[in-house]
């Protein structure tokens, strides 16, 4: 019994120390860069930024297939990376929607314009050189006049995708662009079984491409999406209407085909909802929420100590540990902190206190019935547990449904709330049951608790049992 309690105390202290280390700012005691990798994620409402939900609107009015949507998402991600946002979030949602979240972006107008362009695919000739994938290039199909021609579906002309190439870099010739491509798909080489990406060109482009390939057999050409090199295959022979690209794994081939098709078909995206928040609004709200949290916690702590005395004080200590552990979990999971998320966290503090209130009320009943303290502590916890468990499970059920609801509406504001409340309630089960009980047991074993007044009862001595060290001492 005594040993078990000691081990628990050690575990709690270790956990608290570890959590404190995680919660402390990134600069302090950072071993192995672990903390730098786990920053606090702030939602749009806290640091400002842009959230856009776009819906694919295929020109023929039909459905979008999953590959095309995924390809479009990848294209958007490349463009967003060019915008220099630190923690962009780009997700597909449902069958035809893509959600882009750009926290802390300063120029939302430009970002929206960049996102709404359809992907710009080009096949270029890098004077025979084989450009490695990822190279940012300049092409003769400029960002200016030709752009709108290449992307007829785009509503906002003029602002180019932003990867900034070296101004002194050479300008390569664009042979064909996405408009000229009529199809792209994965196939296999009939003799070797190697995966291939087959593509088809339409109209004049087929002739242009034939002239180009017949003149440059044995040299490299580069496939470029939004000015970024995707792959640089070697030209084997003259290609007119149809060609294949080899030398890839099956996965790479699938990605390339998707990218080619998305660029070629250019699924036009329509913005269905957007949210921009100015940075000063966010900072203002964060400060206010912190003040609210500190005030709320302090008043609750005061109430607990005044009403429940020693157990109240212990529960405040447990609450403090609870706050640190929960916050550490927020960093590890990671949970994106939003204003409602902070509200959910503060609300979970109230629920964490509830568990303690339930236990202490039971403990007092046991003491009033003349039980010795050690039995009253165990009895209080055992009797309070079913109601703590049942009531918290019902809160967790609502959290799960909230999370699903939030995912659907695309509002990190709601998923953030659900997640923080869920984590908070889960940790509160641990802190109320394990932390407070272990602290109470330890104090009892040390024989510190001699007066019933400390436990919120009248001024008289406690009943003693043979197990109580204070009685034997």
């Amino acid at each position: 019994m005594r040993n078990k309690n000691g081990r628990l105390l050690l575990l709690i202290l270790t956990l608290t120390l570890a959590a404190t280390w995680i919660v402390l700012p990134a600069g302090t005691l950072d071993v192995g860069g672990f903390k730098a990798d786990h920053p606090v994620r702030q939602g749009l409402d806290l640091q400002g930024g842009l959230q856009v939900t776009m819906e694919a609107r295929p020109p023929d009015g039909g459905d979008v297939d999953g590959d095309t949507l995924q390809g479009t998402r990848d294209t958007l991600e490349r463009r967003v990376n060019g915008l220099g946002v630190t923690e962009p979030l780009i997700q597909t949602r449902g069958d035809d929607q893509i959600v882009v979240e750009l926290p802390g972006i300063e120029n939302p107008e430009q970002a929206v314009a960049v996102l709404r362009e359809t992907a710009l695919l080009e096949i270029i000739y890098a004077n025979g050189a084989s450009l490695p994938p990822g190279t940012i290039v300049q092409t003769s199909l400029g960002a200016g006049a030709n752009e709108s021609a290449a992307t007829p579906g785009a509503a906002t002309p003029g602002s180019a995708p932003s990867p900034t190439p070296d101004p002194n870099a050479p300008v390569y010739d664009t042979i064909v662009s996405g408009d000229d491509l009529s199809d792209a798909f994965v196939t296999r080489d009939p003799t070797t079984g190697q995966p291939l990406v087959a593509f088809e060109l339409q109209g004049d482009a087929a002739d242009t491409f034939f002239d180009f390939t017949s003149a440059n057999i044995g040299q490299s050409m580069s496939i470029v999406i939004d000015k970024e090199v995707i792959s640089s295959p070697v030209i084997r022979n003259a290609i007119s209407g149809q060609g294949t690209i080899d030398g890839m794994t099956a996965l790479e081939a699938q990605n390339l085909a998707t990218q080619l098709k998305a660029g070629a078909l250019g699924v036009p995206l329509e913005v269905v909802s957007s949210r921009t928040v100015g940075p000063s609004l966010g900072a203002d709200s964060l400060d206010r929420s912190l003040v609210a949290g500190i005030v709320g916690l302090s008043v609750v702590a005061l109430f607990m100590v005044l009403y429940y005395r020693l157990p109240g004080l212990l529960s405040v200590i447990a609450l403090f540990m609870y706050t640190i552990i929960t916050f550490a979990l927020f960093k590890l999971i990671p949970v994106t902190l939003t204003l409602p998320g902070i509200a959910g966290f503060i609300l979970s503090i109230g629920m964490a206190v509830d568990a303690n209130v339930l236990i202490f009320a039971r403990m007092k009943e046991e003491l009033r019935n003349g039980r010795p303290l050690s039995q009253a502590i165990e009895g209080g916890f055992d009797h309070a547990w079913p109601s703590i468990r049942d009531s918290n499970v019902s809160t967790m059920i609502t959290c799960l449904i909230l999370y699903w609801f939030g995912q659907f509406t695309g509002a990190t504001i709601i998923t953030g709330f659900a997640l923080t409340l869920f984590v908070g309630v889960a940790v509160s089960l641990f802190s109320a049951i394990t932390v407070t009980r272990t602290l109470l047991r330890t104090l009892n074993e040390l024989g510190v608790i001699r007066s019933a007044w400390l436990l919120g009862l009248g001024r008289h001595d406690l009943a003693r049992s043979a197990n109580d060290p204070a009685a034997t001492a």
Binding site: S274, A292, C399, F405
Partner: protein, 323 residues
Amino acid sequence: MQHLAGKRHLWFAISGAMLIPCILALIVWGLNFGIDFTGGSAWEVQYGDDVSTEAIAETLAANGRPEATVQQVGDAAEHRYLIRLGELQEGSVEKDALSDALASLGTLAPAGESLETVGASVGNSIRDRSVLAVAAASIGILLYIAYAFRNTQNPLLYGFCAIAAMLHDAIFVLGVFAILGRLADVEIDALFITALLTIIGFSVHDTIVVFDRIRENLLAQAENSRDSFEEIVNHSIGQTLVRSVNTSITVMITLLALLLFGGSTTREFVLALLIGVTVGTYSSIFNAAQLLVAWDNGEIQGFFRRLTRMKRHPGQESTVTGA
């Protein structure tokens, strides 16, 4: 100890008196749905100095947006204005033109600007999902309670009484916001649905603590069964009363701190939670457990029997009393 269960008809009457204006407001006025449900834009701008809301509305109307309504939000010293209008996309030519027009009224602070736009189709599906979410939460909780109370005589009854108390709380909060929507132009947004679902969770949380005590007392009492169910319920309420009030106080303290010191973005959200927690505490003590007693005494069944009899034979009752 006051005999709380004995006065259940008084508590039911108080709940009725609270709910009737709420239900009327919901039927007559309905909820004031925000752009999350209806589609459209909410555009917040910040000026360096005071600008009249009329001037902003007139400027927007002159630029092709006669539907725009303007109200000042936040502290007066912040000069923030909320413009509600039809769909306006960030990055559109029109948005730039409207920004320029608004800039002619005073210095705009770009850092204090926010624009939220929701397409009409998205709004409709959010409304459907909200109803679905509330229904799913209710069923999930009903099933869990039926499971948790499987050792009692009538596990589903506990679930239904908890749901009844929960609906009581949800309707009250909805009603208050219908009234606020009418009188103070407070809108219902996705965040409000979040608050509503949380209230549902909290209401049931509170109710379960009382029910749990009833369950425990029922099991303990089995050997020398002298007390009636009503007395056991009354006893259980008395035992959990201090806990219910104390818990609610701590949650209310934290919510009050958020309401007073938190940002304006979450003010209505927190207000909804505060109202919900308060009424949730009331209903768990004065409604949920009392409903169990009313059912156990056959009062609810009798009430419905009288209702159906009156419907089936509307004229019969007068002849009976006459005879």
